[in-house]
Amino acid sequence: MTNIKLDKFCLVAAIAALLALIFPLTGIDPDSGKQIAFVSDIPGIAVAMALCVITGAAFTWLGVGRIQYAAIILAVAVFGCWQAIGALYGQAVAGHAGTGFWLFILSLWAFVWRGIDVVARYRSLEMAKQQSANILVPIAFGVWLLFLWEVIVAGFGVPQVLLPAPSAIGLRFISSTDILAADFHQTFIKAVISGYVIGCGSAFIVAIAVDRVPFLKRGLLPLGNMVSALPIIGVAPIMVMWFGFDWQSKAAVIVIMTFFPMLVNTVTGLNAAGALEKDLMATYASGYWSTLFRLRLPAAMPFVFNALKINSTLALIGAIVAEFFGTPIVGMGFRISTEVGRMNVDMVWAEIALAALAGTAFYGAVAYVERKATSWHPSFRVRRH
């Protein structure tokens, strides 16, 4: 028995690209009744497809064991993507993509997946190399998803008002930075930050008070657990009614949304210190506050950060949804709901992109602080061996 293992992904890529050369690249123009474009009309895409067939076939036998090989197939895939975009917009394929075109995309998909796969398995003892590989994987995956989105929207000719292509969103993002900045300032800097700080801060203080008074702990916590299961979003119209149109009402919604996760987590965390450690402090006749600061708060930190992370995503979403119920005419939620009505869906997506960026950055920042503050925690520990 020979031990040759065929690389399945490369095989799929090669076959799909081969079929792509054979099947019609585009559909038929409904007006003229003629084929819109042939592979042979567009040298770029023909070359790219041929290249895919060759590399796919080669690596089907060779296997993509090495990182250099992965680099080659990723390079071929990037070239292919570039040609596909060129054909879509430069050669009027947009809106009429046919079987051949989609087979070509499938071939690229197999390449990209296999390439990412190899990079994901890459192991190096050099920190720098390993880290760049670790970052490259999700980025490459994300870029591929954007490409797919672009190609599907353009290829099927999805109306702009339903779903704009990433390129259109990107252009809009760049050309509207002033509006985006103003909205960001209103929603994020004013409402989210203040709501988050007040909500998490007050919950933290209340948690310590609750912890001091066992009666409250027994009485308030079960209710707290219930309240965190509430559709808090429902209070948004009430908050607007109570706190007015400006950012204060949004901050109030955020305070309510973030309060209970923080309360419940902090109280749980304050009880996380082990019995042994508590006994240890007792043998030193350590007082309440001394034990709180030296033992229980440090032990509670992982729980506190857990809540801070959950809340970082909740806060922005809360603010945006609350703007739905009345705002001054600036803010990310305002813009989203207004621009849908104006059929400027690309602007809507630019705001969504901004929200996703801001939310991810916020989460990342909290996660970073967590890593610094609780570097002692087992989950962050580098293995000693």
Binding site: W113, P138, G219, M226, A229, I233, G234, W242, I336, A356
Partner: protein
């Protein structure tokens, strides 16, 4: 020492009914609830007083404090309705109305509940599926995981209307778009917890399976999945609550269609705060009941698995 022993015995044996009540959970919860009601009433009086006084002034009436308090607790469109007003409205719309009527909260609850449950089931399935992929396929772990987290920073709730329209364009109407919004929200906690749960078997247990030369599937069924059960249930409690939020928000834009979200909106549209609050409280009860039911399933399953407690 002896005195110490005495107090301990005292605490165990002859404790007064009162202190025993208050040392459990039911007692304190009741007290806190009563306190909340008192605050609510006081709040209602204070928040509704300005408009009430305005109204007296406009009508040129004179008023006394007692009358003011009475009137603030009986407004038709109060800023903050009093608990008994909400209770009356809930009684009227839940018990005193035929459940097939469009004015019955039971009917609206059912509409919301059905898409909640559908979304919850799909979301849980999706969440588990993703987690299984992430745990078994390195590439998925590295490429997908960061995007799973980022996906939750997209304000899906704000673009819910657009989603409903776009899904409508591809022929998905009624229950499904709402359920999809629920799905989007509730797969996340399930994925995160299940990844943790499926990874929770200790190295030694995995090694054990290896010494038996167990296949991936055998390891999954006899080790990973059972270990993940506690994590799964913890996340299901979050997921079901969040799924309800999704269904409610998904109903907001569909305006005049049925559901608790539509009730919230319609109440808001006509400034009928009592209606808003009763829809809100109903949603809260539904959420609580669903969480309790998941907890009940959890206890049953874990008990069958022999977990102590």
């Amino acid at each position: 020492m002896t005195s110490n022993a005495a107090t301990m015995n005292g605490a165990m044996g002859g404790a007064s009914l009162w202190s025993r009540l208050m040392s459990g959970q039911a007692g304190p919860v009741t007290v806190v609830l009563i306190a909340l009601f008192v605050i609510w009433y006081v709040g209602a009086v204070f928040m509704n007083a300005p408009t009430q006084i305005d109204r007296y002034n406009r009508a040129g009436e004179t008023w006394t404090t007692t009358r003011l308090i009475e009137d603030t607790l009986a407004q038709e469109r109060p800023i903050l309705p009093a608990p008994h007003q909400v209770a009356q409205e809930m009684h009227k719309t839940i018990f005193a109305t035929s459940i097939t009527s469009k004015r019955s909260l039971v009917y609206h609850t059912w509409v919301t509940l059905s898409s909640t449950l559908l979304g919850f089931v799909i979301g849980t399935a999706l969440g588990i599926f993703l987690a299984v992929g992430i745990v078994h396929v390195v590439t998925l772990e590295k490429s997908l995981m960061p995007w799973v987290i980022s996906s939750q920073t997209i304000p899906i709730l704000a673009i819910a209307p657009m989603i409903v329209v776009v899904l409508g364009a591809i022929g998905l109407k009624g229950l499904v778009p709402k359920a999809i919004i629920s799905t989007y929200l509730c797969f996340f906690p399930v994925t995160i917890s299940m990844v943790k749960g499926l990874r929770s078997p200790q190295v030694i247990q995995l090694d054990l399976m290896r010494t038996y030369n167990a296949s991936k599937w055998q390891t999954f069924w006899s080790l990973r999945l059972p270990s993940a059960m506690p994590y799964l249930f913890a996340s299901l409690k979050v997921a079901i609550a969040i799924s309800l939020v999704g269904a409610i928000v998904g109903e907001l834009p569909t305006g005049a269609q049925a559901g608790l979200g539509a009730r919230l909106l319609a109440g808001s549209y006509y400034g009928q705060t009592i209606q808003i609050w009763s829809a809100l409280l109903t949603a809260a009860f539904v959420a609580a009941i669903m969480v309790v039911m998941v907890g009940w399933c959890e206890r049953r399953v874990l008990a069958r698995m022999g977990v102590r407690g």
